[in-house]
Symmetry: C2
Subunit: 447 residues, 2 copies
């Protein structure tokens, strides 16, 4: 029987957990078991269909594992015997472990819509061969319907439109696309940008059925409208991949995720850890269970899990939820709560808004107006969240906000924030919008 | 006699101090007195000569003052009677104040080199007409020598080369350009980038004399070499502009700056404040006086000064020193200490380095390899500084580091940093180099 000190089950966060473990415990032998021959960069999947031109350009090289002295076993783990600490593979092979990490991720949510299993209806699975097939099929597609106007749906729509003679329609059940992620003004801005590319957006529309015989020919909406479609992409969310964990007797929690403590250790077994989409998350803000599934969150948890395997040192403070996206060249980002989510939990807040070009003077090349909206707790002045739209720097500005949130900075602290500025790289020091948005909240907070 | 609640003397940080005051004390009347008809964006000055094409494209609009209900008085303040709280202008006009703010900035350091006052030898003054004259003169220049390889010198060299048939030589007295700001590996990288544009760099070279009759014809170096020159730009530093403060009897401190406490209040007079280059700074790290002069630091101090004028609320934690620059399209940034400055103060440190493309996959358009170097205190694991080079996102990544430094994050904290990531905007969550550099420091810190 093969044996390792640490066995990791899974893809993206599994790689990070393995590397983290090897860094902290260089004498430990680590094996990663995974089904997929190739691991895709999950957030890069929509970009396969446009900017990067094919799935082969969106893979995580296995060299990362070799360089970190991690052994890769390709195949499917079908059983975990926790008493004897043995994983059994589909081909009968057994692998012993001292510590086991579940990093089994998530699979797309497939709603019970009639006709959902017709040919050319594609939930977004993170599988290389599957997505390659979608890529090939898309060559002949004339009418693409995307069900779900979240990140995946919006990014797919934007990318599939690039360089193709294709009609793209996004169907969203809520009043706004991206509504679960952003406040209305940012949703509106993102929708406007996407519509500019020629994509059609339909909101407040529920899908009643997928039409066609063997292959999809259209989508029927609840209000009776019918959309022509020779391909449908489904981007309405994901569910944790925890069948094996359940079979192994691990306690599951919120929405079927594996219950873990702050060290990413399972509630059930001190020698079994979990991280990423398959692991239960709690909110940084109130400690309640959170449904956030982000690759960046998954890798943060994986670093924590890897560090704690043989000695509990790193505590997860709960998920802040930090993300960004790009729609038709405009970047959007959110860290922490939005005004919508703050209102949902009844938080009394003060909002500060500011905007400025992301160069100074604004006449520098490729200058882009950046909008910032910050939320502070009315009673304490502590930052609860921030939303941005603008150019490429938005991707790191949202990380500035994440650092501020992690440290519970108040609006007063942020007024005194010492940012660096440069004409070609940032807003001017007078206008720097993160600081100026905080400035605008200071007086209302006191009032 | 004109009267205001608050009189501010000066340009850039004066505007910010005025706006901050009006925001905190909306019922107070604020007057800004300044000599310059037009305030230039200070960090944009080198870009006048290339990218933005002329000084008129690099001004701070006075609309900012109007919008904030601030009165502008153009002219030179020549006397301050602190007993009667009156400022006297060169034309004899007097203006009464309740609170006075010195934001008088700095002027270029002019070294006692023989011939330094010849025609076409230009220290970098922040004056519109002066810089317009330099702009006009540069049209006919064939051989430009820039004395000083700091930010100003390097940026001027890079910009003046753009779209001109011109020989540009940078003369630096130290072994590396940018040596006061960055560690050698980043200095080397910046020099290599600049040399690629055709600029000639001479290090370890001291200037002995400026040659020529009325007008400069060359530069003589200490080792006897002579460089042909029909224009010389001097970028070797700045000195605080504090003549009026001295005349008014305010206590001066380090390198002639106005002594202030943590509220930016002068030591001498509770009704007089100072901020920006003219005000004394102490280091965030050890509280010792610091010679840092940055526009971003100046505006941070101005926000603090403005908030404290009628009630002490905001405390300056000392200057972290956060900045970025761009040389031939590559961005460089530093927040806090460098390895060099840490060694100078005898700090025992652990260094973590990482690099990654600033998109994922790396094949996304305009992807740029980003290098990160972080410094942590050996005993406590607290971050002391970070250096970066890469693409446009470096300008905000250095601000992520600033937030981490401000909050004394440890390497362990930074391992758990929750960054947002996106294919077109950031490195991949597995590779995110700020976090991975911290990861690499964790074990050496414990060892």
């Amino acid at each position: 029987m093969k044996k390792a000190d640490v066995v990791v089950l899974g893809g993206l966060s599994g790689i990070t957990a393995g590397i983290s473990c090897r860094r902290h415990y260089p004498d430990k032998k680590v094996i990663i078991i995974r089904k997929e021959g190739t691991v895709l960069i999950p957030c890069g999947i929509p970009y396969i269909y446009g900017t990067v031109g094919g799935p082969e350009n969106n893979v995580i090289p296995d060299g990362l594992l070799e360089n970190n002295g991690i052994e890769l076993v390709k195949g499917e783990a079908v059983d975990v015997d926790r008493q004897n600490k043995v994983v059994t593979m589909k081909d009968g092979q057994t692998i012993g472990y001292e510590k086991l990490v579940f990093a089994t991720g998530s699979v797309p949510l497939i709603p019970p819509i009639p006709g959902i299993d017709k040919k050319n209806v594609y939930p977004v699975k993170k599988e290389f061969d599957y997505l390659s097939d979608v890529y090939r099929q898309m060559k002949d597609v004339k009418d693409l319907v995307i069900i779900g106007g979240g990140f995946i749906g919006m990014e797919f729509a934007d990318e599939c439109k690039k360089g193709r003679e294709i009609n793209v329609t996004v169907v969203e059940a809520l009043p706004h696309c991206l509504q679960m992620a952003m406040d209305n003004e940012f949703c509106d801005e993102a929708q406007t940008k996407l519509v500019e590319t020629g994509v059609k957006i339909m909101v407040n529309e529920k899908v009643e059925a997928i039409l066609g015989n063997e292959k999809v020919t259209g989508v029927k909406l609840a209000d009776g409208k019918e959309l022509k479609a020779d391909m449908v992409i489904l981007g309405i969310g994901a569910v944790p991949s925890t069948e094996l964990a359940k079979k192994a007797g691990l306690e599951l929690g919120f929405r079927g995720t594996i219950r873990v403590d702050r060290y990413m250790k399972t509630y059930t077994d001190p020698d079994v850890f979990a991280c990423g989409d398959c692991a239960e998350k709690v909110s940084f803000f109130d400690g309640r269970p959170s449904g956030v599934m982000l690759a960046s969150t998954a890798t943060s948890e994986a670093r924590i899990a890897g560090a704690n395997l043989f000695s509990p040192t790193h505590q997860n403070c709960g998920v802040i939820s930090v993300f960004s996206t790009v729609i038709n060249g405009r970047a959007f980002g959110v860290a922490g709560l939005t005004e919508r989510t703050a209102n949902q939990v009844g938080a009394k807040i003060v909002v500060g808004k500011a905007e400025a070009p992301d160069t100074h003077p604004g006449g520098m090349p490729n200058s882009c107006q950046t909008k910032v909206k910050l939320l502070f707790a009315k009673d304490t002045g502590v930052i609860l969240g921030g939303s941005l739209s603008g150019g490429k720097p938005v991707g790191e500005m949202v990380n500035v906000l994440s650092a501020c949130i992690m440290h519970k900075m108040t609006a007063d602290d942020m007024v005194m924030f010492q940012m660096g500025t440069h004409p070609a790289l940032t807003s001017s020091p007078i206008m720097y919008p993160i600081v100026n948005a905080a400035c605008k909240a200071v007086i209302p907070l006191k009032g």
